[in-house]
Symmetry: C2
Subunit: 380 residues, 2 copies
Amino acid sequence: MRDVSIVGIGYLPVEKATKLSLRQMGARAVQAAIEDANADRVDALFVGNMLADELQGQKHLAALIADEAGLRDIEAMEVRAATASGAACLRMAYLAVASGEAEIAVAAGVEKMSEGIPTPALSKALDVEREVRDGATLISRNADLMRLYLDRYGLKDDVLTGFSLNAHRNSRTVAHALYKKPVTARAIKTSRYISSPIRLLHCSPICDGAAALVMVPTSEARAFSPHPVKILASSAATDRFRVDDREDPTWLNAAYLSAGRAFRRANVNREDIKLFELHDAFSIMACLQLEAVGYAERGEGWTLAERGLIVPGGTIPIATMGGLKARGHPIGATAIYQACEIVLQLTGRAGKNQVRDAHLAMTQSIGGAATTVITHVMGV
Amino acid sequence: MRDVSIVGIGYLPVEKATKLSLRQMGARAVQAAIEDANADRVDALFVGNMLADELQGQKHLAALIADEAGLRDIEAMEVRAATASGAACLRMAYLAVASGEAEIAVAAGVEKMSEGIPTPALSKALDVEREVRDGATLISRNADLMRLYLDRYGLKDDVLTGFSLNAHRNSRTVAHALYKKPVTARAIKTSRYISSPIRLLHCSPICDGAAALVMVPTSEARAFSPHPVKILASSAATDRFRVDDREDPTWLNAAYLSAGRAFRRANVNREDIKLFELHDAFSIMACLQLEAVGYAERGEGWTLAERGLIVPGGTIPIATMGGLKARGHPIGATAIYQACEIVLQLTGRAGKNQVRDAHLAMTQSIGGAATTVITHVMGV
């Protein structure tokens, strides 16, 4: 198995509603990443997307984007795991290069949520026969988890405020982030309930985005880029599909398993990780992930935010460029944005958001109500 | 890169409408394959499916099927390339094992087309903005190709009869095939037009099916199975997305490229191939594939059927268990059925359909109107 490095990144600014078509978005991100890598050809394109079937009425997206980007004759496929589809496609591009089947692979995520109402299509990440039929949505399932968590540990619903606060503070200086205006703790605490106890400002936004990255064997990386980033581990795990089938729904076992496998493969300890781009689609997920990965005891994930440990200068910086909450969460593209941001951080190109001494980072992406969790560890 | 072998297969009978749910179908095929392989665990499940988003309103299918099959904690993802989704998932499972990331991987295809009307969802394999908007469907695009072919070479529309005839003859003795009743040449030639010049009996049927296979490193294969089958090459290629953008739409360039790459990787010649499970969703596709892969000159693919060379005792047997036409074409499952049938042929377990001296076989799956073509070469 060959070591694999990222040698090019490309992304569009996250927007509420772009004027570009889905295929144009994908093609531009792909072209930008290829240009950044100074690559003169590509062997394979893997695309992450969740909602085009419904919102654009389009399947066969990887071949379509390859064509739009002018990439002729190449391999092109979509890889999916619901809301973790971007990370799934990143992992497949990684396997293509690691196996020796591709010398230059592109992983691209793209989602245009501004066409139509994405919520019903998003709910298909849940068990349609046994959850959606009963009225569940991804939002209501996260609200269930948050309620359970608050009740179990006797907490008020504003204890998670610090997660959104950190995200919005960090995104102010990020050119590609959706939100750049300051958001106060008071605004978060008093924002309207979306699905109690989840408030509007505990939620990531509906938005459009596309991002891509180029991978090559590490042995060839310097020929493409002066600052390659190595993928030290890639790992995926699943939990019982339905939240209700889990012994303890507030324990994200797939996050625990996926991170543990990744740490072992990368041969690193969780204390060595300098920043963690996690899946803060809802603040409760960020909190539970921090517990599952081991940065806090059960019931104490929220204290990391409260104590200021998740900020750029803290012990475990998260959402360093705004995260899903404030950079935005264009579903299938999100994990590729996360990876691009980690590349910027690890190569000292994160500007005002630079995390000091960032040489090792982790990203984790969640499919459905934490059914699928995909972890990548990257380093320089 | 490790060599990879198939050590277990499992499949349901193809039916017009099964009583099983989609998840049950997938889980049963997966369990049957695991049992066939005598495997006591699985690391990863890759699922091929095209239509569940629309027909079952369900995404996140790999994790759902893993849960239903009782596979806990494992990696699970969907891989897609429109109508070639089964082959795409086969390729990804292959990469997972070849790279060393998985020791035991399952590729499963599943499609339940009997719930709802699949045609509109199938058309999403085409360019929705520039083809579907103008009224094109996968069927009409294949009709366009057939018309172009017949006109260019001055042929009547019954010259393709031999393809359906061979498929239906072969399926009569196949337990898992959809059609087992004899079909005459006259019935094919006089069947009603679906989309002229395509007649009903030039088309594969709408049906339900699920199939799975287990892959391990070749070095471990004998510990699982007395008759492993080696994957000698896996290859994917794309053409210009729209048929109209191609220089010569009757030349399937992605089939040409994908087969060429596979032959080089497997280090075999096309003459060595003992059977070819191709993508006869429509007879014209079978004809054009035979030309693109090099078994006939341009404009002469149909003569292979006419001269009886595609039958089990011929020079290049195709659809040896009925193919898409008569075994059935449950989209996302089809390429896995093809692979399972090749395993049966290469291990001398094809019963009355056994191709003599079958030691090397090829399968090719097509996404959309020959936009994506995925080839696998297998041998014993």
